[in-house]
Symmetry: C2
Subunit: 151 residues, 2 copies
DNA sequence: GTTTATGCAAAACATTTGCATAGTC
DNA sequence: GACTATGCAAATGTTTTGCATAAAC
């Protein structure tokens, strides 16, 4: 019996198929769980939410999704690596240190700046990894509301 | 018998002492080995170079050095976390993907740019992590020399 | 039917912890 | 002498691997 999954998850499966990988029940389940996450996650998070899948399957499929660019890694401030859905190519994340949500940062003009800075050091730029930490709009609003209530 | 260590290593020990930690023989040895590294390293690298020290001591002292800011973490392009001597406060690294050397990037004006970009997303910036990958001057020169030789 | 993916158990790593002993201040 | 650090062994946690079985194409 094929479980029903949502459009986003379906898209992950389709992309896998286009790349020559099979669309299996465990992968459908994983795709759905990943599509449902509202923040970055770890392999362990997936495992908890997919207790019927084997350890190895989770690690193998997760690696596959990263390799095919559908899931990207996120570096937390403390050095932990988590994962999250990746919709596009190269991008950066605005990570909320309070709620863990993340926004994508596209078309950031850091590239030019890095190019110049690198050149000044005799360095030939080939790539970079940037994570930005702070508090998202929602978390800031919550605090403001609390302040008002206490005033 | 106190082993002789160089000035850089001595400085690490001194700083530890200033922060209330003891200057012990294992820490002297570790400080010297770390000061000698010419590229980023892992706990395992230290372990190989300090076979007489216990595993736990290496992990504990390394953590201590990171916490006190004398060693910093470096994120490799593949997501691996390595370590290296850290001389200053906040800074970034130009990591050569060929020889593994790294240059520090100071006074990089990325901060302003991020501030603006974050604000545009309703995001209150609190920090960031940036690693830059490419090829260092030395590695580029080697290639040019080879090309000339083959011409 | 052929090929790929899964699940399990075991193996391989990486890091942490408890605790008795040794070293530093 | 009091307190901190070390080393060992064991525990913990994470990821990988081999291989027989099952599922997909």
């Amino acid at each position: 019996m094929r479980k029903r999954i949502n459009a986003l998850a379906e898209q992950l499966l389709d992309t896998l198929e286009q790349k020559g990988y099979r669309s299996t029940e465990p992968r459908r389940a994983m795709a759905q769980v990943i599509a449902n996450q509202d923040k970055h996650f770890t392999a362990e998070d997936l495992r908890k939410q997919l207790p019927s899948l084997g350890r190895a399957t989770i690690f193998r499929s997760l690696k596959l999704l990263v390799e095919t660019g559908m899931v990207c890694r996120v570096l937390l401030e403390d050095g932990d690596l988590h994962y999250q859905l990746s919709h596009r190519g190269h991008h950066h994340h605005l990570l909320c240190v309070e709620c863990g949500s993340s926004q994508d940062l596209l078309g950031c003009d850091i590239e030019d700046l890095l190019q110049q800075t690198s050149a000044r050091h005799g360095f030939e730029l080939s790539g970079h990894w940037l994570e930005v930490y702070g508090r998202c709009n929602a978390c800031r609003n919550v605090e403001q509301t609390v302040e008002l209530a206490n005033a």
